[in-house]
Symmetry: D2
Subunit: 362 residues, 4 copies
Amino acid sequence: MSSVFGTLFRVSTFGESHCPAVGAIVDGCPSGMELSEADIQPQMDRRRPGQSELTTPRNERDLVTILSGVENGITLGTPIGLLVHNRDQRPDDYQDMQAIPRPSHADYTYQVKYGFRAGSGGGRASARETIGRVAAGAIAERYLLREHGVEIVAWVDSVGHLDAGAIDMASINRQAVDLHLVRSPNSIAAQAMAELIAEVRDNDDSVGGVVGCVCRKVPVGLGEPVFDKLEAMLAHAMLSIPASKGFEIGSGFGGSRMLGSAHNDPFVQKGERLGTSTNYSGGVQGGISNGESIYFRVAFKPPATIGIRQNTATFAGADTVLEAKGRHDPCIVPRAVPIVESMAALVIMDLFLRQEFRLRGR
Amino acid sequence: MSSVFGTLFRVSTFGESHCPAVGAIVDGCPSGMELSEADIQPQMDRRRPGQSELTTPRNERDLVTILSGVENGITLGTPIGLLVHNRDQRPDDYQDMQAIPRPSHADYTYQVKYGFRAGSGGGRASARETIGRVAAGAIAERYLLREHGVEIVAWVDSVGHLDAGAIDMASINRQAVDLHLVRSPNSIAAQAMAELIAEVRDNDDSVGGVVGCVCRKVPVGLGEPVFDKLEAMLAHAMLSIPASKGFEIGSGFGGSRMLGSAHNDPFVQKGERLGTSTNYSGGVQGGISNGESIYFRVAFKPPATIGIRQNTATFAGADTVLEAKGRHDPCIVPRAVPIVESMAALVIMDLFLRQEFRLRGR
Amino acid sequence: MSSVFGTLFRVSTFGESHCPAVGAIVDGCPSGMELSEADIQPQMDRRRPGQSELTTPRNERDLVTILSGVENGITLGTPIGLLVHNRDQRPDDYQDMQAIPRPSHADYTYQVKYGFRAGSGGGRASARETIGRVAAGAIAERYLLREHGVEIVAWVDSVGHLDAGAIDMASINRQAVDLHLVRSPNSIAAQAMAELIAEVRDNDDSVGGVVGCVCRKVPVGLGEPVFDKLEAMLAHAMLSIPASKGFEIGSGFGGSRMLGSAHNDPFVQKGERLGTSTNYSGGVQGGISNGESIYFRVAFKPPATIGIRQNTATFAGADTVLEAKGRHDPCIVPRAVPIVESMAALVIMDLFLRQEFRLRGR
Amino acid sequence: MSSVFGTLFRVSTFGESHCPAVGAIVDGCPSGMELSEADIQPQMDRRRPGQSELTTPRNERDLVTILSGVENGITLGTPIGLLVHNRDQRPDDYQDMQAIPRPSHADYTYQVKYGFRAGSGGGRASARETIGRVAAGAIAERYLLREHGVEIVAWVDSVGHLDAGAIDMASINRQAVDLHLVRSPNSIAAQAMAELIAEVRDNDDSVGGVVGCVCRKVPVGLGEPVFDKLEAMLAHAMLSIPASKGFEIGSGFGGSRMLGSAHNDPFVQKGERLGTSTNYSGGVQGGISNGESIYFRVAFKPPATIGIRQNTATFAGADTVLEAKGRHDPCIVPRAVPIVESMAALVIMDLFLRQEFRLRGR
């Protein structure tokens, strides 16, 4: 298993669905930054289950504790230990499913790969694994914002067939995103999305969606060609989030249908640097940030755990019918918003530390 | 710069557009495999420029030499040095462009990040950087095919607005793909694609496209949750290819519009293992291969270097008009086919070596 | 800061001297192994401060808790979270020393590198940092012993000028080592060592020493030439332990004075494999284990924190006299014994997982 | 096999004893540095075989070619490909030894680990593997010297039982070291060492030795606690050199015999920083450089390939007598001097790039 992410800003996470605690170690955080639990908790609250009627009824407060790396409210440069206790564990909910791997869930592949798997709730494949990502990401984005003004904002771009419509990526902020439980900024679309999720939930079904994200004020020069291009690291990070199935940056799949003469972003002088008058590139050229806003989209499939009866097979291969119990989200994208932001922050922070600042401005 | 890829099967590449040679070191290749240049050259030929009227007129034979790691035609387990000479260098073609960064190319970001940049042809951001990937990938896919029967086949899935139509992923093979210069298996679509590329070429413009890829017979159990899920590694690999803008696996972005009850892949007994009767998952569940075919799509933007006049700015910020010279591909996807295959092979090979085989089948 | 060790068996540690807790995450532990806190605690007890009159009077029980990765007493293959609370914190002991960097301690270099440093007790440079290593090492050695019979035993080989004398590396075990508080197996030498440590302690001084270690029954073939040779990884691991100043394997520095004709280890048939009749190589040839016992020695300097008055300078550069308070070990080697064992286990475990078992026995 | 070294300044090497070429890729070299083959060749010449009567008669000119990463004599920031052809190959010399593993050489362990091994001359375990290290190291030390004034000088500290005597580490330089073929700066000792090596050579035997090394003017703050302490990285690097058996930094093993009151290095004001009046620490405290000279010693065993008759066993386990043919060094330390310097440069360079310069001087 690979539970470490990053080269210089390295995050290790641990924890299954129903063990005593989950958490993370953040190694490589620069010293001298003010940090307390209060700086991390808001993103934890945006991620936590049970936060609204649109999410899983599993109710966890997910209070984070800093165990190390901070003294007198200032980071020491040493690893930051982060802990969150699991409280609302109900392993019994899952006992009926021990003989039947849930379709499109990780039950079967974990069984083959590890021989053993957590007996309940998805184990390491549970969404609770993302707690460590969000806690670590909150630290990264705090550094990026305070030291360099980097702003990272994600939103729900679609739920099922319902699209959010045009987004003003220059101005969108978390307050606007959080106005609606579904975390989509357009009121009319948000209302329709919430209704769709409620309908799907009431049908014991689930639905997919897309999260959009913009990273503003990222300095020029981040990203390590050839293999660790900025977009490659973002794609790696986003496809490591449970249930994600796709990633596109800038013009993305749509850009593949365009001509170069229309797609190229002309350069123009912007203040002291060159900028571009359009941004089909999504803020990245040659794998390196160009100073324009980085924006990308992440596709999430419908959650695999559904209450509807499914024809499938047991681990032993016998035909069976599964009615999954346990608590699950009818649609993951509202809660995926802070996870996408956190993973983006981890990528940018790591590339930031990897950048050779000695050479800058030559 | 980060020119090393992989954890146990590690590939390091070097080379710019107009230096004496490009190449790679493949570290971690198992010993005891028959290997000669003849096993690598076919993919080099599929990647090389000048192979057809649809590609750049730069003409390179790209003959690969094995410098080490093989004795008497057998791999030793030691690093395999691979070398390809650059022959058709014409640095003079690029002298007019020294003062003007090409729009949507890496000229500007390289200048800011490195202070210096190769004076010609894109330097490290040139497509010649991918030679090392393809040479290394050919070794990986040879191992995977011989030892485990893994078959990796990519094809052109769209060019601009032209789609290849339905592909039979169970049977598609490289011979069928190569029947048409454009490397798309449907004759009617391939003909239209070729005409579109020729038209775009004649207009000094360029066009984007999408490459599809399937990996058959990958054993169950590959992929390292949490952060190095199989799909995360594939996304990382694919977004590191020059000009790529998007990645989707299985149902991808389309899957985000579906309900769980339709999207879940029911289990059925298949021979000695569990299989699934549909494959929206794209062969991966919980970040681990499930024994079904892995398939994914990669979006490529139109090449940035075009001959059409473009209004843009000089490095110094002055308004200017650029008519780019130099030789370039009007559409990258026919040559991207072996690159996508190679990167897929590198990912699967590395995850293969990382898998704990001691525990298998417990 | 780099608090992650290993390639496939990866250990991340956190914790300073006086923060709420210290601990580790062990990623990559194979699934299916019986494991509980009781398997880890014995090595924690051998490492803990306050265990005898020869160690620091700081008294910590250092009880370890497993937070994740184990269910029903069996490892899941997921990361194992390990936690130990700091209890006997006395930050006030250190307030007088805020203006004066302790000679040969990390106070000054941490201040320069991080701008900030933990206000008390050495922070991350405290011996408490080694708790995570020992907890993780106990898991690694449990796996190595149960699955492959690997036995790792360290002992105190010298204290100051007092040597332990000849050690029978074929039979030495932890019970014999622990017969004496000083952890040296020769009773006469152990008595003298204990007296020397007591004398040094009573003088508010400190003394150095050497730890020897043998790893028996390591299978042939572990170690990754060129750069990750078995001895290179061991040297890395041992020199990362606080206060270590030297490492030698097999004949070591003494071997540099020998002739090849005397130093070479002749091969002889041993059971089903080739063995050697002497073992100046220390169980490693060409960076790869050869099936003989691996043995090495690690030199430790005298602890830097001493009560004796020292002429030195303040951070500001003014001449001063320091009488260090705080609790410290007069000699670190008795407590270093389990730390050396643990780091050896982490190295062997990681190289074990990196070994290509597919090819074994060809 | 692990042929990649470093985190940000990453060196990949390839090549066996008798393949067409050996070389390296240096990834992560900063852009904008003047560099040509003439800057690398001097260290290649100090390493090359056949340079004097004290080394192996295998005669290689070892001319290095830069294949990429440099344009118009300036580094681009892209990977630097380095190539050296093998010329004086005589595989036939080794045919008699195919059935008999050389005692204390890597023949046996390579056979077990890889199933195959290079048929001649030690393959990857040959000293020719170190060519890539020296070529890469020459680039690193050029950068460190030009940008930061870092001076790295190694010398032969002992040959067999003959010691070089006191060395003035503040002034020793390569010119003084190279005055004598044996690369030891004391004329009387050097003469005796040369005679010992000649005698050993004439007896078809070999002898070990120790290389000392000092790194002057390394800035304060390099080294990444906990696991990548400066001394841990140096130990890793040095024990990865073929035939090395030990490493000690500062007071080393001798320091283990001292009292803390004598061993501690008192602080004194030195210019604008704190320095120490003694340097038992060897320039490192808490794993971080403290601004004093870093010095260390590396023990090398006598070369394993000797012409004297040795009683040993065949691969099949039968008793036999081996008279090894092939060309070998009677003593490796004169040629190890540039290798030790190069590995030190690689370590310091990598830690230099890993240092967070943003925070410096806060």
